[in-house]
Symmetry: C2
Subunit: 200 residues, 2 copies
């Protein structure tokens, strides 16, 4: 019974190739080659390119959007604790899969309708989450969108930009891995600075 092994080998190969080249630039033959498997087996186990891609995409969307939800709705933590927990969790998660944000964002952009329905954040009422309620109490004058954009921008953007520049042999962001590691403790401090700003 080698069945599960082959199926998982193909899925893992698809993960790697899709993440690297995107949907359009990936061929079924690329996946088969990376899995070390006959071309027909990809269709045999997964029916079509669209089908296997959507499996991977669902996984990755869950990973980047779904993972934040438990932290956002947690009524037992303070705003500061949420910031600390989410930035640490995100930096850990994305460090293992540095191309995750760029992959997910750019595939959604190319096919928004196809993936809208499996967007995990659609299922919760964003404005009624604990984190947003806490922010509104703290900064009643500021649109909570600003808070989320600042927070996620500071956390996620470094992966989009830096992993890229290092591939281009630019030296702007040398030691980027240790820089990103430092951000686990720095981002919460900076976010508190912003929250306490007299602007609010």
């Amino acid at each position: 019974m080698t069945e599960i092994l082959t199926e998982e080998k193909i899925k893992e190969a698809a993960r790697i190739v899709f993440m690297e080249k995107g949907y359009a630039a990936t061929g079924m033959r690329d996946i088969a080659a990376k899995a070390g498997v006959n071309l027909s087996l990809v269709n045999y186990y997964f029916r079509s390119k669209r089908n296997i891609f959507n499996l991977i995409m669902t996984e990755k969307m869950q990973k980047i959007f779904g993972s934040i939800i438990p932290y956002m709705i947690d009524e037992t933590t303070s705003l500061e604790e949420k910031i600390k927990n989410i930035s640490t969790m995100y930096i850990n998660t994305i460090s293992e899969d540095p191309n995750l944000p760029l992959f997910v964002f750019s595939e959604i952009q190319k096919n928004p309708e196809e993936f809208a329905f499996l967007f995990p954040l659609k299922q919760i009422n964003f404005m009624e989450t604990s984190i947003i309620k806490q922010f509104k109490t703290r900064c009643p004058e500021i649109n909570p969108a600003h808070f989320m954009l600042n927070f996620l921008g500071m956390t996620i953007f470094p992966f989009i930009a830096a992993h890229l520049f290092s591939n281009m042999q630019t030296h702007i962001f040398d030691n980027i891995l240790s820089v990103i590691e430092e951000r686990k403790t720095l981002i919460p401090l900076w976010m508190n600075q912003i929250l306490d700003s007299p602007i609010n």
Copy 2:
């Protein structure tokens, strides 16, 4: 002499289609159709798909990376003024071309070698720019990469995330256009808060 008109029509069509679908998903027939022109004319004027794409890509990389350089090296402005000028300039520039960051980042990721040599920031010594020298004076303990990542993350990330969510009919970032407009004045205030933080 309709020559220039046709050539520019094709280039403009290529701009639109490439920005929307990316290199791999764009066909020569898509470009010809969008330009309202015979398929052969695309090769007649631009020789190959790679060639016309690289023209567009050079343009866009100049727009997103090149436009920031004059502000970074300007010795006549303070750090605060640079922050104000760059965030305003970027928000104006990208608002007219909201998919610019995602397009450039994801195409570079798929082909880092091809575009490394035309990366405008390779030509300047990043660490010796005025903005970085000013930051190091202000915050000697902090790696300047953090400063640039915070600043660019707060400025650019909203376009990557928000334009996307609105296409997905999520309501997380409603009124995103006015929110982004507000950020022209808010980002400099937040950045100053971060710069003045007792952490540094």
